[in-house]
Amino acid sequence: MLSHLPILQVIVPLLAAPACLLLDRARAAWLFACMASLVSVVISGLLVFQVHQFGVLSYSLGGWDAPWGIEYRIDLLSAYVLLIVSGIGALMMLAANTAIRIEIPPERQPLFYVLYLLCLAGLLGIVATGDIFNVFVFLEISSLATYALIAQGRDRRALWAAYQYLIVGTIGATFILIGIGFLYSLTGTLNMQDLANRLPQLENSATAFTAFAFLMVGVCLKLALFPLHLWLPNAYAYAPSIVTAFLAATATKVAVYLLIRFHFSVFGVGFAASVLPLHSIFLALGLAGVFVASLVAIQQPNVKRLFAYSSVAQIGYMIIGIGIGSATGLQATLLHLFNHALMKGALFLALAAVVFRFGSADIRHFAGLGQRMPWTMAVIVIGGLSLIGVPGTVGFISKWYLVLAAFERDWWPLIIAVLLGSLLAVIYIWRLVEVAYFWKGEDEVCREAPLSLLIPTAILALANIYFGIDTRLPVYLSDSAAQMLFGVGP
């Protein structure tokens, strides 16, 4: 059994999805889905442990050896991301039953769990697989499930947002497909490890550069890098709140993982350096994303949109980490993968609680929320402090490493820019806090969020603080992964 863990990681949610279809009642479907996602977490944990003990795990699907067959390849980076995705997936699932009660009509609720599990399976598959076409397939699985999930939102604009995301996402996936096609025509293999071995000899081939370009653009569309981020605010704002929470904490992280995988493992760091100042482009776009998105976030009246733009800014930070081009920079990005999942997971779950009580996340509903929903607001404050990067929270740790990486290169303007970004975050968080704690609320009576929503939210919020102080696990994992990707460590 243990040797089959890599494939089980994907199969468990994938098979659980149609099984949910058979269970017609919402509550039964929910319980089953919870079990499936918890099993996924356990598997991820075991995989991390195994990789730590034995090194890279390689699993051949159907007994066909790589590079002819499809290989599932779990190294430290994959295991790390798998843990993040499955962990968030399970936590969100625990809260899902309550969160969708007002947003999705009862007869469609079992279908919601089917879609959720399919999305989870797709995301896990992207990370677990070592075959490049398999990546495309799972990417599309998760994307299709995502489009359908977003369209479940109550507001009719959710349909339009889902449609837009579908168009953009399909273009992105098709670009990736083109890239894969070029690579295949050049090397004859679809296995990522094999590609990595063959590509250095083809370094000056125009086809390889074209493939690289298509792949990069396709992935950047998926990861909402500025200026390809325009689908994200609408999609996050109008989707059901639990969907936003799940996606914000996982989907873009997996896309960043894919970027790192292509950039470091398959093509090698210096690949495009002779043709394109790729790292400078990443730095520029990342910084632009941070500033533009933060500035727009400050003016949003809908809090979900506010945090959606904030997510674009945080993704900008991750790209800056890659753009710095050192192991420390990459470690900062990897740490931020983990930390952002915790931060945005907590924030969007808290927003789900607000939506549950008020029906929308407009900032007017936040007036006086500090007295009426104190625990939910406490979570938002903690998440907000983490976004700003106050020491004692997890956000500080990733900012620290980012600044450390910039400092190692003596890039002072970058350090100042990163810290200015933090100050912008202070502005939009503070707006929220002020309305919540110091404005009089409207007369509608409202109680604190139900426990089933509050507990997963609190867990994530406490994780923000815990991992901000006890940083051993994420720092160790990200450090080893970064070293390995740069070809230094084991």
Partner: protein
């Protein structure tokens, strides 16, 4: 160069047509058509790359020594299925949008959103 690489030219032309339609067209259905053309161009690309000179169809048969590469065919079958699923989902979304907004034209959609 030109005559031998005609397949790439077809691919590029189709890809650009499809892309152009997606971006420029305001009608949601037409956008999907453009998307479809765009995806199809990629399928053609793969399959045409898989052709081996003097190779026949990749089905085992007596007396045939050179086969075209079957792998791209397999990949494209998968991609076609993905494309169909995407199209089905997209069309379902368009129907829902039509029911909710009463139109499938992009500009009218945005107008009606602004009115609300």
């Amino acid at each position: 160069m030109l005559p031998e690489l005609y397949n790439y030219w077809v691919v590029i032309v189709l890809m650009m047509i499809g892309f152009y339609i997606v971006i420029v067209q305001g009608n949601l259905i037409k956008k999907l058509i453009g998307l479809n053309i765009f995806q199809t161009s990629v399928f053609i690309f793969y399959i045409s790359v898989g052709k081996v000179a003097d190779g026949s169809a990749p089905i085992l048969a007596e007396g045939v020594n050179v086969y075209s590469n079957p792998l791209p065919h397999v990949l494209i079958l998968t991609a076609i299925v993905v494309g169909i699923a995407t199209m089905a989902l997209a069309l379902a979304l368009v129907i829902r949008i039509k029911n909710a907004y009463g139109t499938v034209e992009e500009e009218e959609l945005q107008e009606r959103d602004l009115q609300c």
